[in-house]
């Protein structure tokens, strides 16, 4: 009897029940959408890494490494990497290169003595159209094992407004969660600062995989090893250095002649930390010189050339793939946001000194 009553009840309420069901399905879809877009749930997304960019950030500049200079050059392959990878850049005689030197500071007007991080970004375009993009730093390793660690590090080292220096308790808590970062802190405190872009070694830090013609995989990292000698400066020399010392030095050197770097590939062995950019591989690993980069000419980034390029290190040619290094994968999305934000500012005419007037795409750029 009860059952019958229920059935009758459900019959009369059929339409409202169905409507509820449809609303439920549609609502679930909308929630799934909102979560995937990062609108709800508060999860860390690649946008989170740019959330501290101030509203007043000078339009059109990179959200990090804002101060830089474009260059053109040529990569000449030695052929030594050919047995490991079918990428045509390793076999081609001359590969044209567009690149950029930059300071690690987010501030596009930073004085050159304000940061120890000097960087090189490259885009090699082989004759078959395959591109190899990369961003390299003069740091030998990354501070933390994953990208979330970078956010926590920023948070922990944020100066306390009342004291002007980081809160020691938060730093300790961070180093407890990311003990590997101690290595970075120590390196940062002791390693000499480079005094020239020309003499710095630039490292890829993340790991990649080479694929040979039989499909065999070889995990690697690489560096751009300078032909020019490394030079450093004392703290007092550095403090007195002019605002654009490093960039002026680079321009002067290029006027005298091209600068060179060897592309040195390090081959991992089983057990090496391929998925952890905070761990360096042993010195004894085999290295090959895959070719030499010649940097022949530099020009202002406002002129374009490298300005609108996203040197996204995850855009690799056939014959190279990504490793499961979590920092590498996170960078793909972070760079996409930074790139599209700044190029849209330029496109919509909001950029001022980030672009040169006569080259503007949009007459509204002043």
């Amino acid at each position: 009897m009860k059952k019958e009553a229920l059935v009758t009840y459900l019959r009369t309420k059929r339409v409202p029940l169905i409507l509820c069901g449809i609303l439920l399905i549609a609502g679930t879809l909308v929630l799934a959408f909102a979560w995937s877009a990062g609108l709800i749930g508060g999860r860390i997304t690649t946008r989170t890494f740019l959330k501290d960019t101030p509203k007043t950030y000078p339009a059109g500049y990179r959200r990090a490494h804002g101060k830089g200079i474009c260059f053109e050059g040529t990569f000449r392959a030695s052929g030594e990497a050919v047995p490991y990878s079918i990428a045509s850049v390793f076999a081609q005689q001359k590969v044209p290169v567009i690149g950029r030197f930059s300071l690690g500071s987010p501030d596009p007007y930073a004085p050159d003595n304000s940061t120890r991080t000097a960087s090189m970004a490259l885009m090699l375009t082989a004759d078959d159209g395959e591109q190899w993009r990369m961003k390299l730093n003069n740091e030998p390793f990354f501070a933390t094992r994953d990208a979330e660690g970078f956010l926590k590090q920023m948070e922990a080292y944020k100066p306390n407004p009342s004291t002007g220096s980081p809160d020691p308790a938060r730093v300790t808590a961070f180093l407890k969660e990311y003990p590997e970062a101690k290595k970075y802190v120590k390196w940062d405190a002791t390693a000499p600062w480079t005094r020239s872009f020309a003499g710095a070694q630039y490292n890829v830090i993340n790991s990649f995989i080479l694929i040979d013609k039989n499909g065999k995989k070889q995990a690697i990292r690489w560096s751009m090893r300078p032909h020019a000698a490394f030079t450093s400066w004392s703290v007092s020399q550095r403090k007195q250095a002019s605002h654009d010392f490093l960039f002026e030095d680079l321009k002067k050197r290029i006027q005298k002649g091209p600068l060179y770097w060897d592309l040195v590939i390090t081959l991992a062995e089983p057990g090496d930390a391929v998925n952890d950019p905070s761990q360096v591989w042993p010195e004894s690993r085999r290295q090959i010189v895959a070719g030499t980069l010649e940097v022949s000419h530099v020009f202002d980034q406002a002129d374009g050339g490298c300005r609108d390029v996203n040197f996204d290190p995850t855009r690799v040619p056939k014959g190279i793939t990504l490793s499961d290094d979590p920092v590498l994968r996170a960078r793909a999305g972070i760079y996409a946001h930074s790139h599209s934000d700044r190029v849209r500012e330029i496109g919509y005419g909001k950029a001022t000194d980030a672009v040169v007037k006569h080259q503007n795409d949009n007459p509204k750029n002043k």
Binding site: R14, V15, I18, L19, G21, I22, L23, I25, A26, L29, V30, A32, F33, S36, A37, G38, R43, I44, T45, T46, R47, D128, G129, E130, Q131, A147, E148, D308, V309, N310, T314, R315, P317, K318, T321, L322, P326, R329, A330, A332, G333, A336, H337, H339, S340, V343, R344, I346, G347, Y348, D361, N362
Partner: protein
Amino acid sequence: MSGKKNRPSAPPTQFNITARILHWLMAAMILAMIFVGLGMMTSLTWRPWLLDLHVPLGIAILLLVIIRFINRLSFPVPKMPVSMSKFQSKAAGTLHWLFYGMMLALPLTGWAQLSAGGFPVKLFPGVNLSPILPQSPLLYALLHDAHRVMAWALFFMVVGHFSAALLHAWVYRDGIFSSITWGRKMTIRSEEPPASAAE
């Protein structure tokens, strides 16, 4: 047109088999594409992999929508049921054409934004599509925003379309739903009154 080709004069009760297969195949692909797109813009881990999926899947949609469009224009389609108001059938019809517009515009703006941004349009490793626009910040800005706005709008169109479809399937039972499925034909749409009228 129908007279020339000796087709039955009564409109069909179902979309033809090509339309039905393409509808459901593409519905799955498009929903997947929307979530792949969102994932690309947020995930710390999956962006490279999702982008490698987004481009070939999106280009497949571009090819399929062309076939679907030709098929749609070449064969008669079921009429809206008489129980539906003029306004409703007009709205449904407009929405369907808007869907075609979106299914065409999204892959094209996607391809064009990669071109205008100076990126390779990687279909598979070693296989790149040629750019369809020159590199330009203004074009990139417009296309990037257009792709995003349209993709988000498409999602809400799909949710609306999907809810309306279920309403027709479960409440009105007027044959609209079965016109795009394989299920047994509940009624011959546009002829019999909808089942829901009895309630």
